[in-house]
Amino acid sequence: MPGLAPGDSAGGGPDSVNGTLVPYSSDSHVSAIYPLRHGLNPPISRVSVSWGRGNSLRVSVFRQPDSDPKSDGEVGGKVVEVTLGKSRDGEISDAQWRKIAYGSVSPFALLQSRKNSTASLSRMQLSPSPYHLEWWEYVMEYSKDIGSLLGDPKTALATLIEDPNEVFPKKVEEPSSLKAAWELMEMFYVDKLSQAWLPERLVDWLADYNSLISIDLPTVHSKLVEFQNQIVTLQVIEDDPRYWDLISSALAVGWLEIVTENGLVEAVAVLISKMPRMRPAIDAGKIGECFKAKPDFVKAWERWRAQITKLDSSAFWIQCDHRQTREGLKNMLQIMLGNVDVLCSSTCHWMELYISHFLYIRPFTAGLESMYSLAQKCFRLKHTSNPHKLMRLMIGILGENNEVVLAECSRGFGTWMVAHAIELLTAGSNEADILVHEEREDLGGISLEELHRLVYAQLLSSHLLTWQIAPIYLTSCMRQGMGLLEILLLKQPVQENQMLLKNLEICRLYELDGISSHLMEISGMYHWKHGRKGCAVFWLQQAHDEVRLSGIASQLFDSVGKSISGESFKQWEGLIELLGSEGQLAGGLDFLHKYRDFKKCLQHAESRKDADAARQAVESLMSLMRNASTPQRFWLPILYDAVKLLSWDEGPLINVGQTNLLLNKLQELSVARLRPDFVEAELPTQALNHVRYSLATNLGRAILGEL
């Protein structure tokens, strides 16, 4: 599965674990070994693991127990936690990550809901209203929303300050490779409007992100930065061959502003600034003449090239006696004339050579196939053994290999990227759409799209501050999302009321009633065991946990039965209130009071052989048995208590009618006991027979007495 190994994630950098999910490396897989520092003195006797939230793995390391008394106080073990699939290279801080994670929720959710409504429209075979946008336009909106979260890199070459000490402008914000990758995906798969001028978009893209790929290899950008550091020591800048070299390089990759604003001969500067560009518009501060239509552009391009050729062969060069200037300018003309050798020597990175081809040799390149073959050519000319992750992504895109694109998104930019960029990929290609939505047996019946969302949601679950947005992604997964959401919710601690309420709210939102009851039961039991009996009863009632509630009611019953002092009764009073609020569960307060009265009278009657008390007890008994609120499961214990009254020595206390009522109750009880949910009272096994016998005897006595 993608993106689980540490560092194998957003900005994993060149040290990313190789081979995650890359289809072509499944056999030759060699896993990376990471050190896990625990700081214990050897010897280590055992290691154990446990998964925490989401992707966090907790490792306990135990030292061999020390019997040496001198080493008393030595630490016996350490527990450390590693969160897998998390960025390690620090390009994006944890806080920024969370900002991106939270920010992408609503664009994602909006797109999903649009997808659902579009799907239902097409199911109903309704054509979308003419005011509706095309699907790619929705994805474009999504892409722009997400892109804006990733930072704004448009500062890299925005302005050129006249101060000669600042050849290269200060960047307000470092561009991130995540943003760069997102823009690549957007321009190739979503932005249909810019398809016609894709080469020019790549020129802009490289200008924005050239600094990123200079991490491992020299680029025009890194040369500029290096030169800028030395510039203060130079007297006449034009004397330095490096200056001309750099200006040519900047020209080759299309950074025309840098070239024209650094004191060139007027004629050349004007030519450069009039360079025809096949694009609808150009940002303020940038130069070139824009053409939207190809015929206009072709005409302008030919005219422009003719002017360059003319200048190249003019007499000006004979008059120019500053050798470096002359050679530098001639070189620049060769660049503009599309001299491959000069372009090749003026550029460092294959991507720069590639861009220069678009600018000066093949401005009409269109279609991925020809772009790919051109990229291959440039790649051969400036081969690198360990290409940057952005370049690997680019090759995947140009090669139209959707599997590689997904794999590179995952391995180079992490689980967030792949989960969100799938929307871009599928907007641009039907094959990609089939690829990511196909249900795969090897993945337990889910699609790639679902897999990547699950993996991302699991990463979100790893952190206390992000787990709450995981449900958004999980509920967008048709097959296994709800399963994972249930597990996620069941792992949330419920001791804190605030947290419990939050979890219950999530359950309510997604109609997870079973999970909600389970959480309330856990909470109820936690409070019960911790002496907060009121809280416990409350949550158990909310959960409709009849088994535990009747267990509690039974404890109450015992306590009322055992002690008539009223002291312990008071202790339970709050509970009785609570239990009584729902009536049918425990019979209510009314019942318990009646039962207490009954027990009191019974005790009086028994201890003093007091007939009045006994008659009172009978009244209480009848009142209890007539009362609908007396729980059925208490009937037998009450009747069992009443055996003493039934066998009253001085004659029957309970008349025929009353006895019949009690017998009916007993009959009802016998039927109820057959039901599977019936809870037996804790009484001697013969209790029922005993009661039955006593009732029958009493009936006989009562009939005789009434004759």
Partner: protein, 325 residues
């Protein structure tokens, strides 16, 4: 990359995290059970908040009881006896870890214990050194005191056969980490013993109609049936049409798929989809992550290894961690 969560006392031998990863229970050679808490859910620093002496000999294993039954653990001590402890605050007194139940056994030692919940009933499976397996049921969900012995059997595919007393060194039990109430109650169990028939991992399912436990699958190829099993782990299933179970023997870690529809004999189809070898060490422990996609293992080489399947269903070692000073 790694973050320190807790420091353990000298003599600590085992540890176990509760369901939410918010509490850690550890056992030590002197028979002490220690509980670690972080205080604040956002904090990742865990401190010992209570200690209880749970036995004369050292604690060798601590297992949390499902949270539906309170905060409680089962401890197995060096003599192989089993006791249950729970956190209670009675009658406005301070919270304390109290003894709730001990299970005495005449000669056999308890090797492993695991808990499963079926509807509202808590079930406990205990594997003994004489090869016996006992399943207990908690009578009253409000307290851990009263347990009923529901079944007693041996880990054999032929449930009628009986073997003479065996001598087992270790056992590994894992319940099916099911969520819904609809599923049958089941667990997998393997032994490391001198009695070949007992060893191989078998999946036991409770037959509600006949109220008995029946073996529904054996997770070993015919030639591997005698292999001693070091550890078993049943993966959470978030929606696959089959179950995934990992079984570790000296040949490596086998990943099994277990079908869900029984044949006419009531057996479930099984398929070994991978044997992760090249892993010389004896496996101590295996744990699946919450999605059941990644398996973490530890073993005698001291390494922590992570295993995953790629998109083509091929299992491989994804990463490894080497604990160092």
């Amino acid at each position: 990359m790694e973050k320190s969560l807790a420091t353990l006392d000298n003599g600590t031998t085992c540890s176990s995290w509760n369901y939410s990863g918010q509490r850690l229970a550890t056992g030590s050679v002197d028979g002490t059970l220690s509980i670690f808490d972080s205080g604040d859910p956002a904090s990742t620093s865990f401190k010992c908040t209570s200690k209880a002496r749970v036995g004369e000999s050292g604690v060798v294993k601590v297992v949390w009881i499902p949270p539906l039954f309170g905060d409680a653990v089962a401890c197995i001590d060096g003599n192989g006896s089993l006791s249950l402890w729970e956190e209670l605050a009675e009658d406005a007194q301070a919270v304390e870890w109290k003894h709730s139940k001990s299970f005495q056994s005449n000669s056999a030692k308890v090797l492993d214990v695991q808990f499963g919940v079926f509807r509202t009933i808590l079930k406990m499976v205990v594997a003994y050194s004489d090869g016996q397996v006992k399943v207990y049921e908690l009578s009253n969900p409000l307290e851990l005191k009263n347990w009923q012995l529901q079944a007693e059997f041996q880990n054999l595919t032929d449930s009628v056969a009986k073997l003479a007393k065996a001598s087992c060194f270790s056992a590994s039990i894992c319940w099916n980490p099911q969520r819904g109430d609809g599923q049958e109650l089941s667990f997998v169990l393997g032994f490391n013993s001198d009695t070949p028939q007992l060893n191989s991992s078998k999946v036991w399912e409770f037959d509600l109609d006949h109220q008995r436990w029946v073996p529904v699958a054996e997770l070993a190829l015919p030639e591997d049936r005698k292999d001693q099993v070091f550890s078993v782990a049943w993966a959470p299933n978030i929606g696959r049409p089959y179950e995934v179970i990992a079984v570790a023997t000296h040949k490596g870690i086998a990943i099994w798929h277990l079908g869900s529809n029984p044949d006419t004999d009531g057996r479930l189809s099984v398929e070994r989809v991978a044997l992760l070898s090249g892993y010389e060490a004896e496996v101590w422990q295996m744990e699946w992550d919450m999605s059941g996609m990644t398996l973490a293992t530890t073993g005698t080489d001291g390494m922590v290894r992570l295993w995953q399947s790629n998109l083509n269903g091929i299992w491989h070692e994804q990463a490894a961690f080497e604990p160092t000073t």
